[in-house]
Amino acid sequence: MVKGIKFKDIRFAGDPVELAGLYNQQGADEIIFLDIGATYRSRKIMIDVVRKVSKKVFVPLTVGGGIKDIQDMRNLLNAGADKISVCSAALQNPKLIQDGAQIFGSQCIVLSIDAKREGGSWHAYIKGGREDTGIDALEWAKRGEEFGAGELLLNSIDADGTRSGYALELTRRVSKKVSVPVIASGGAGNCNQIFEAVKIGEADAVLVASLLHYKEYSISDIKNYLRLKGVKIR
């Protein structure tokens, strides 16, 4: 498993199967695997990882990265994924969200949005943050919901791996715009920033990666902090 900064400078961060088991023990509420390579070979590895993890981890598993069609979704679901996250392919062909939602249900389809600030607004990027589509991220979030996405995974490219806090304004604006749950992703550096994502960003859930991978905090540290701050949390 690897982790990058602003979608670049990718570093090795551990074995995915092992880490999923560890995070499960620590009380993770959900585990998200994103295949950032998204090559034919890496997808086969991902299927194997999902198969192994789903035998011993009994919290929801979301898998994404390079999902191009219904067959990709089906393969991962059969391997043990509970939800599929789509990004680039959905922007190029929004019907993929619709078809996925129709076949597997909205609860199964997570629309992942890689957003980057452009002046006063945010653009949706594709191909792992390499290509600007010029599409407004907020508009895209709304359309994604209309197409049938059951959740939004909102990644701030600007904040990713920086540990300077979540993109609060972006998160809040998306959260206000849609009526499906929004998962804030990118930028967690300490527990208070995670609290802010929930409180100020109005995120329904938060994704934490670097903080955990590099063992700076455990999941229970974070949860205890949020609990003290009055967040209703498992």
């Binding site: 499960n24 009380g27 509420d29 789903s54 035998k55 011993k56 009994f58 919290v59 929801p60 679901l77 059969n78 043990g80 509970d82 597997f104 249900g105 909205s106 609860q107 059951g150 959740e151 009526s179 499906v180 749950p181 329904d204 859930a205 949390i233 498992r234």
Partner: protein, 199 residues
């Protein structure tokens, strides 16, 4: 042997994997004749209310399931599998549910729909099913419709998502849970274990 009812509307693997993990034997039931090979039934929930009922009907499962429950044999409905035991749902108007329980399903209106995530349960009465589960324990929910209270005596636990709804129901030896025990970590596994060993 646990039988997991397959009505060809989705993935049964996760329930199966949870039983495997608990070292409880289970098999997938594809047709009526398979019902004789098991002594416990699980009805998982996938897809829409109408579509699921249609598939269950086509497969000829409705009466056998009702008889199974009537005769007090162990049964567990999960998520939509709970809702299908009630009479109807706003999701698919005009479709008749299995009507084991009185009551209907309505769509959430107070909060974000679907409810996707962890929520806690308020236990209304003790059963062997909940042994070792504390009041207020969190489980993983993923649904847009909820069960409106019909028969008070059927309610084992409630949850709140802008409105109170039934999260665990019981009648004879049939339980229905609105959440996904197979996705609810340790608490969920505990519940499944209780169901096999104590119900």
């Amino acid at each position: 042997m646990i039988g997991i009812i397959d009505y060809e509307a989705g993935n049964l693997n996760s329930v199966r994997k949870a039983f495997d993990f608990l070292q409880k034997n289970s098999r997938v039931l594809k047709s009526l004749k398979d019902f004789d090979t098991v002594d416990r039934l699980v009805l998982p929930g996938v897809g829409s209310y109408g579509h699921a009922m249609e598939r269950i009907k086509e497969k000829g499962f409705i009466d056998p399931i009702k008889k199974w429950i009537e005769s007090g044999q162990p049964f567990l409905g999960i998520c939509l599998g709970l809702q299908l035991l009630f009479e109807s749902s706003q999701e698919s108007k005009g479709v008749k549910g299995m009507s084991v329980f009185k009551g209907t399903c309505r769509r959430f209106t107070e909060m974000k729909v679907p409810q996707i995530g962890w929520n806690n349960i308020q236990i209304q009465r003790t059963t062997s099913f909940l042994r070792g589960i504390r009041d207020g324990e969190f489980f993983y929910f993923n649904h847009s419709y909820y069960v409106v209270e019909g028969e008070k005596e059927a309610v084992v636990a409630k949850s709140n998502y802008g409105i109170d709804y039934i999260s665990i129901a019981k009648k004879r030896n049939a339980y229905g849970v609105q959440f996904h025990p197979e996705k609810s970590g340790q608490a969920g596994l505990k519940l499944l274990k209780n169901w096999v060993e104590r119900c």
